[in-house]
């Protein structure tokens, strides 16, 4: 089996990016759209071919999925510590290839309709291709440093795409916020990588993840403040993952990132880039699990559980539909994290790991669908706010049905995809940590409620005054919706546990009927409550909101986290720390340098008279010098 062709999967979008980026002005918009789509189709075909070959032809040896690595040394530090570039093929990377290919292709097709007539059409597709290249590279990375390089690249492309409407102040601010917050988190990631490199002597995933390898067996050799240094490194790496995956308390950038075009939100901030954090933890899962009895993994579980609850509560109160979806994404990412956090390693014990990856897969489908559906609605009514929408089901039948399918999927109603993956997560939580189980069941109810709140708000309820009659979007936009709806229905039936599991051996899963019944019941309660509140125009919801009083106000202001961060940075960091340093820089460092410069100018003004232009003066100086030197040699320098 030859894996060399897999390197083409990231390289094709890179070529498309260079082509569209360099000939930005010369390519007609219509053509650039096709170039982008066909580049993605080529990568997608290769991804599917790889997946087929891997899962069904050569991947399984003696019942265990093997890890295949093709790499070359890129940078040498010592004989053992070097940075490689290459591709790593194992179940989760292949699964991610499929996710990225499907969602990215759908978003490309959708964007051809959504962005039509936009000035930066070609630029948009160039950025999308850059992003696709980066995320493919991230998925296929063979070591921590390679993943870090592509990690930053997806950060850059996310920054470029959030700030796509660069004439809009809020978009620029959001882009900067996203970049700075994730960059801050990546500082932790980088320190974690360096610690790993220093104490284990390798960056290679295969060596690090080997349960019998030295990296895992020798975790206790050095400790720092009561914990193993490796645990610290893993916590710091998780900090990077939490930044990218918008985990509490680094979540503040994700809602603002909705300033970008909606297809971008679907691709980057729902389906692919934000799951990079989950993917990173899953990639290092054996380390998280075995080092210090999973101390770092517990942190992952609790941060995930808290984030999912926190985001779900906020999502209920938001009125901008894209922000509801953003908080919903954060909540579901918390779900994936907590599933990883409660997972074991061997066989059925590793159900959490499998469930997390399964949920990542199904969530990518239905969340991308929700975003694209929301984009279709926004395209029709030219507003993001629920108050401008209502009764749209008559005008937009396809959007209505596909959005309903996605909402049912995320609410965990069978037979839609979300039900199966969520059920596995709940099983894993139930078996390992009851507290987290109760939290996640509660969140499941909240999810169903806020999802159907916006569903009823958009497609049912009272009709608003529209500037022009809303109409269904063109086929280029509804086609991806239909494909993704189909996937949202069908992907739940994939026997996922046979393909992806923590020990790579695969296991059988069966529905746990009591737990599934509870989950469905909770989901249905959420939907029914939403139906009562929002199906018809009434003031029940307002009364309820008033009943909660200040709690409602807190939640709708996102618990004032933006304000707290602003206070900490502006009032404390800027004033107390940055301002004195700036003063020192200006008054001491700069003043010294400027003083040296000024003194030089003044002195040279004073002595420039020596250069009189009179040849005989020069001759006199010269002769005097010679005489002085001669005297020195004759009278002083005589041994």
């Amino acid at each position: 089996m030859n894996l060399n062709y897999t390197i083409l999967i990231p390289l094709i979008p890179l070529a498309v990016f260079l082509l569209l980026g360099i000939f930005n002005q010369k390519i007609k918009p219509a053509i650039s759209g096709y170039i982008g789509v066909f580049g993605l189709i080529a990568s997608g075909i290769l991804s599917f071919y790889t997946a087929y070959q891997y899962f069904f032809i050569y991947g399984k040896v003696d019942g265990v999925y093997q890890t295949f690595v093709e790499k070359t040394v890129w940078m040498n530090f010592t004989d053992t510590l070097h940075i490689d570039m290459g591709v790593l093929i194992d179940p989760i990377s292949v699964m991610m290839l499929i996710v990225v290919s499907i969602v990215s292709l759908m978003v490309h097709i959708y964007s051809r309709g959504y962005m039509k007539g936009d000035d930066g059409y070609t630029r948009f597709f160039a950025y999308l291709s850059l992003f696709s290249f980066s995320i493919y590279g991230l998925v296929l990375a063979t070591n921590l440093f390679q993943i870090y390089i592509f990690w930053e690249l997806v950060g850059v492309s996310s920054y470029l795409l959030i700030g796509y409407y660069y004439t809009k102040t809020s978009a620029v601010a959001a882009a900067k916020k996203a970049f700075i917050v994730t960059r801050f988190a990546d500082l932790g990631f980088l320190i974690g990588i360096l610690i790993i490199g220093y104490y284990t002597g390798t960056y290679d995933f295969e060596t690090l993840n080997n349960p019998e390898g030295s990296a895992i067996l020798n975790w206790a050799s050095t400790s720092f403040m009561g914990l193993s240094v490796i645990t610290w490194a893993l916590i710091l790496i998780f900090m990077g993952g939490a930044g990218k995956s918008a985990m509490f308390p680094l979540h503040i950038w994700l809602p603002d990132a909705m300033e970008g075009p909606t297809p971008v939100s679907a691709l980057i901030h729902a389906a692919t880039m934000v799951v990079a954090g989950v993917y990173l933890v899953a990639r290092l899962f054996p380390m998280y699990y075995f080092v210090e009895d999973g101390f770092a993994l517990n942190i992952v579980a609790y941060v995930g559980a808290f984030s999912s609850l926190f985001a779900a509560v906020i999502a209920i109160t938001q009125t901008d539909i894209k922000r509801v979806l953003a908080f919903s994404t954060m909540s579901q990412l918390g779900y994936m994290m907590l599933a990883l956090g409660v997972s074991g390693y061997d066989g059925h014990e590793g159900v959490g790991y499998m469930a997390s990856m399964f949920h990542l897969f199904t969530h990518a489908m239905f969340k991308a669908l929700l975003f694209l559906g929301a984009g279709s609605v926004i395209h029709a009514v030219h507003s993001n706010y629920l108050k401008d929408m209502g009764g749209l089901r008559k005008y937009m039948p396809i959007t209505n049905i596909t959005f309903l399918i996605a909402a049912l999927a995320i609410s965990g109603i069978p037979p839609f995809a979300g039900f199966f993956s969520k059920d596995e997560i709940l099983v894993a939580a139930f078996e390992h940590n009851k507290l987290i189980y109760y939290v996640s069941v509660f969140v499941a109810g909240l999810t169903a409620f806020y999802m159907f709140r916006i569903y009823f708000g958009i497609f049912w309820g009272k009709e608003r005054e529209y500037k022009h009659t809303p109409h269904e979007s063109p086929l280029s936009m509804t086609f991806p919706l239909m494909i993704l709806a189909l996937l949202s229905i069908s992907t739940g039936f994939i026997p996922f546990s046979e393909f992806v599991s923590a020990d790579k051996a695969g296991f059988e899963t069966h529905l746990d009927y009591p737990l599934a019944a509870i989950a469905i019941a909770v989901g249905l309660i959420g939907i029914i409550v939403a139906w009562i509140f929002y199906k018809k125009e009434n003031n029940l919801a307002d009364k309820f909101a008033n009943g909660f009083g200040f709690l409602y106000k807190w939640a709708s202001n996102k618990f004032y986290f933006d304000e707290i961060y602003m206070f900490v940075t502006k009032k404390i960091l800027f004033k107390r720390v940055a301002a004195p340093i700036a003063w020192f820089d200006k008054k001491v460092v700069d003043a010294t340098m400027e003083g040296i410069g000024n003194k030089t100018v003044v002195t040279s003004n004073k002595i420039k008279g020596i250069q009189s232009g009179k040849v005989q003066d020069y001759a006199l100086y010269f002769v005097s010098g010679v005489v002085v030197i001669a005297l020195v040699f004759i009278y002083l320098w005589t041994n």
């Binding site: 420039k608 008279g609 232009g613 009179k614 040849v615 005989q616």
Partner: protein
């Protein structure tokens, strides 16, 4: 080995010649006079070459040959200097040193 004259006496004469040249170069106001002063300096060094050759290595003629070489170079240099002075005269109608001070700071 000139009978009755030691090397010191001849070197004294050439030193005097040299410093007269230096003095002229520094104090003369006319460019032509400065050129003549340079000739004096050159002549002093030429005589030194010959004398030192004569007194130290009487068997070889390198110093003498070198003095001829210097005379040739000096002639070329003088031609060049005179050409410059003539051009200068065409520009500013003067060969005084005080009129050629524009190349200063």
């Amino acid at each position: 080995m000139i009978a009755g004259i030691s090397i010191y006496e001849i070197l004294t004469v050439t030193s005097i010649l040299f410093f007269i040249g230096i003095y002229g170069f520094i104090t003369r106001k006319n460019l032509i006079s400065i050129l003549i002063s340079i000739e004096l300096i050159m002549n002093a060094s030429v005589v030194n070459f010959v004398i030192i050759n004569k007194y130290l290595y009487p068997d070889i003629l390198q110093g003498v040959l070198f003095s001829i070489f210097i005379i040739a170079v000096t002639a070329a240099e003088t031609a060049l200097a005179v050409a410059i002075i003539i051009n200068l005269y065409r520009q500013i109608s003067s060969v005084e040193v005080k009129d050629t001070e524009t190349m200063k700071y």
